[in-house]
């Protein structure tokens, strides 16, 4: 290492430090030129077909990528793919391409390139940096579409990377970034981009240190040259001296320590500073999820989505199949609690072979417990029998979804008693004292909770649906997602009521919606008096840290103040303040992700 150390000031776009050798990725992946090609008039129909076919294929592959990254990205980041899908569906662009094919007889690939190039050029000239970034999205999508025409063969990033390296590129498109193999890429430095680019957002989601505005000479470096990228301070160092390496190794250690320390805390109790203990549980849907749950220190299964196993079978699984599944689940959880939510689907979710309803509005239709009691009681009974039998092998609890009346619970309890008598007669082993819990996820159930609580052994608040039904919004309709406000005082009021009813009846209460996995709401939920938080396993470590940094007295004060607020904005403000004070390291992370 005789070369001189060089330090460059660059723009940090994703925090973290990476030290390592580089791998250069050229811009060949982006199609920047398509040779002009014309077709005969009788061939234009064929070119149009090729064009529409390519659009369709690209849409499919984006949808697949979106699905694959689903649990790795924040919901707001998934919007990147929606932008790409909208570009693919853009009416003006499609018309332009069709016109070029129809009237000028251009070949499809040529027409696609030319039509999109107009938008790229205009967008690149816009002063607003945020809009200018969208040019990259158009070029990215265009290149994906053109892949179907083989104008640009074979450039799999995955195949080209050997060992762990820092990726150096002139530019990385959002979908290339999403495709970077996380086990091989330490971080990346690119020339073109900005902190608001989708690439940057993705890098932050993937916890991959990244900088932009790298010096030109980096592109010409020997790949074996060592470099450092500092995604905190915005520095790029080529040929670091031993001294610099020492400093940065230490700094990298500190940064990485934070995330790994969270993992190391997996064994620790979720206990507040003043000694209040919260149970941390996981929402899972497959047997294989248990490993992940244990890795992050999940103490129980707070929600097993039983319908997922139904969806993977061509016909509803038999009693024996379900019995084996629940028994195996209990055994993998080593005797810890497993809450199984009974079949929670509507006509929209289960495909026609089983549930052939056409409903105008499935979210307000025959779903959850309604479907089980009214249309599909045979399937429901089979599931309950399997659960009763499996209950012998561990701490199994039954949870009922979509309740809106006391009568529904009474009906289910009657069915369970009938089934118990049946099983007794058959001399089949079953759990005589299985616990039954009510999901509070409709405004009606929250308002009736004083009547519901005495009938059940626990309550679990499903915040996703509770917010959706209370705010009267369809969560999948992005025109109203701004009203998806878990911290709305109306929601807090319903949660508060539920907790009070649970305490009065000496039963425990859990929150199993997305709200449980958002650190911003942890102090609120604790303060309101929730006993258990159940969430996707990967969120457990960060929530555990929040709980361990917090004082119950502070949380209770926050909750009582929040209940007096008139809007979700006020509640969020107070929650952010408390987080900033108690867990600044986490506040920094979530504020950064929420900023945009």
């Amino acid at each position: 290492m005789s070369s001189q150390e060089k330090v460059f000031q660059v723009t940090p776009i994703s925090p973290g430090i990476a030290i390592g050798k580089t791998i250069k990725i050229g811009t060949s992946h982006l199609v920047e030129h398509v040779p002009e090609r014309f077709v005969a008039e009788h061939e234009t129909a064929n070119e149009l077909e090729k064009f529409h076919d390519a659009i369709k294929k690209t849409k499919n592959s984006i949808n697949q990528l979106k699905e694959r990254l689903k649990n790795k990205l924040a919901t707001s980041d998934e919007a990147i793919f929606d932008t790409h899908l909208m570009i693919l569906e853009d009416m003006a662009l499609i018309t332009d391409v069709e016109n070029l094919i129809n009237t000028e007889h251009k070949a499809a690939e040529c027409a696609i390139f030319e039509a999109s190039e107009r938008y790229v050029k205009v967008l690149e000239d816009i002063a607003d940096p945020y809009l200018r970034e969208r040019a990259a999205d158009v070029r990215d999508v265009r290149s994906r579409v053109l892949e179907n025409f083989h104008v640009n063969e074979g450039n799999s990033l995955e195949k080209n990377i050997s060992g762990r390296r820092i990726v150096v590129a002139d530019e990385l498109t959002p979908s290339e970034t999403a495709h970077l193999p996380q086990d091989k890429v330490l971080g990346f430095a690119v020339n073109v981009g900005s902190p608001t680019s989708h690439t940057a957002i993705l890098a932050r989601s993937m916890r991959m240190p990244a900088v932009v505005g790298m010096p030109e000479e980096l592109m010409n470096l020997d790949p074996d040259t060592e470099i450092i990228i500092d995604g905190f301070a915005g520095r790029l160092i080529i040929n670091p001296s031993d001294h610099t390496l020492d400093i940065y190794s230490l700094k990298a250690q500190e940064a990485n320590d934070f995330y790994s320390s969270l993992l190391e805390e997996a064994e620790l109790l979720a206990e507040t500073q003043d000694g209040f203990i919260v149970q941390l549980a996981g929402n899972i849907e497959k047997l294989e999820d248990v490993g992940e749950l244990k890795k992050f220190g999940g103490e129980a299964v707070g929600l097993f989505r039983s319908e997922i196993s139904f969806l993977s079978y061509p016909a509803p699984p038999s009693e024996e199949e379900q019995f084996k599944l629940y028994k195996e689940l209990l055994s993998r959880m080593d005797g810890r609690m497993v809450v199984v939510r009974t079949l929670d689907v509507g006509g929209d979710k289960l495909n026609d072979s089983v549930f052939r309803h056409q409903e105008q509005n499935p979210f307000l239709g025959l779903r959850g417990i309604r479907l089980c009691l009214k249309a599909k009681q045979d399937i429901f009974r089979t599931q309950l029998r399997a659960l009763l039998r499996a209950g012998v092998y561990g701490d199994l609890k039954i949870m009922l979804p979509m309740l809106t009346s006391v009568h529904e619970i009474v009906e289910v309890k009657n069915i369970i008693e009938e089934l118990k008598t049946e099983l007794k007669k058959e001399k089949t082993d079953f759990s005589r004292k299985i616990s039954i819990g009510a999901m509070i996820e409709t405004p009606a159930s929250a308002l009736l909770v004083d009547h519901i609580a005495p009938l059940v052994d626990f309550l679990s608040i499903g915040t996703n649906d509770l917010v959706q039904y209370t705010m009267a919004i369809d969560r999948s309709n992005d025109l109203v997602t701004y009203l998806y406000q878990p911290a709305n005082p109306a929601i807090l009021e319903l949660i508060g009521r539920t907790v009070i009813a649970a305490k009065e009846n000496n039963i425990w209460v859990s929150v199993c919606g997305q709200m449980a996995s958002d650190p911003l709401y942890t102090p609120l939920l604790l303060g309101l008096g929730v006993n258990e938080l159940s969430m996707d396993p990967a969120s457990l470590s960060i929530i555990r840290r929040v709980i361990r940094s917090l004082k119950m007295s502070e949380a209770e004060f926050l909750a009582s103040e929040a209940l007096k607020c008139k809007s979700s904005v006020d509640v969020r403000k107070m929650s952010v303040e408390l987080l900033r004070k108690t867990v600044p390291e986490i506040a920094d992370i979530i504020i950064m992700e929420n900023e945009r």
Binding site: D82, D90, M91, A92, I126, A127, R134, D478, L479
Partner: protein, 87 residues
């Protein structure tokens, strides 16, 4: 049928508002256009709207023609009025 509107949200017609307009406009059969001092784009095109590059304070004319023109015009107008729900 047309109506004048001013971009009031802080970020202007960037990707998200453009997407909202395009999605909303696609729900109507009418031809809906945005006119920024002579530069005209179809409201059903997210790219068209983004390339208008209309920042805060820009005055635009929304025009609509077709069976549901009035509803369409109002719907798009309301998006601007509610600042595209930017908090």
């Amino acid at each position: 049928m047309e109506r004048e509107v001013t971009v009031m949200n802080a970020l202007g017609l960037h990707a998200r508002p453009a997407a909202m307009i395009a999605k909303c406009a696609s729900g109507y059969s009418s031809e809906i256009m945005l006119n920024k001092s002579g530069e005209i784009t179809n409201c059903k095109s997210i790219l068209g709207i983004m390339t208008l590059s209309a920042g805060k304070g820009t005055t635009l004319i929304i025009s609509a023609e077709g069976d549901d023109a009035e509803d369409a015009l109002n719907a798009i107008y309301n998006l601007f009025q509610t600042k595209f729900d930017e908090e």
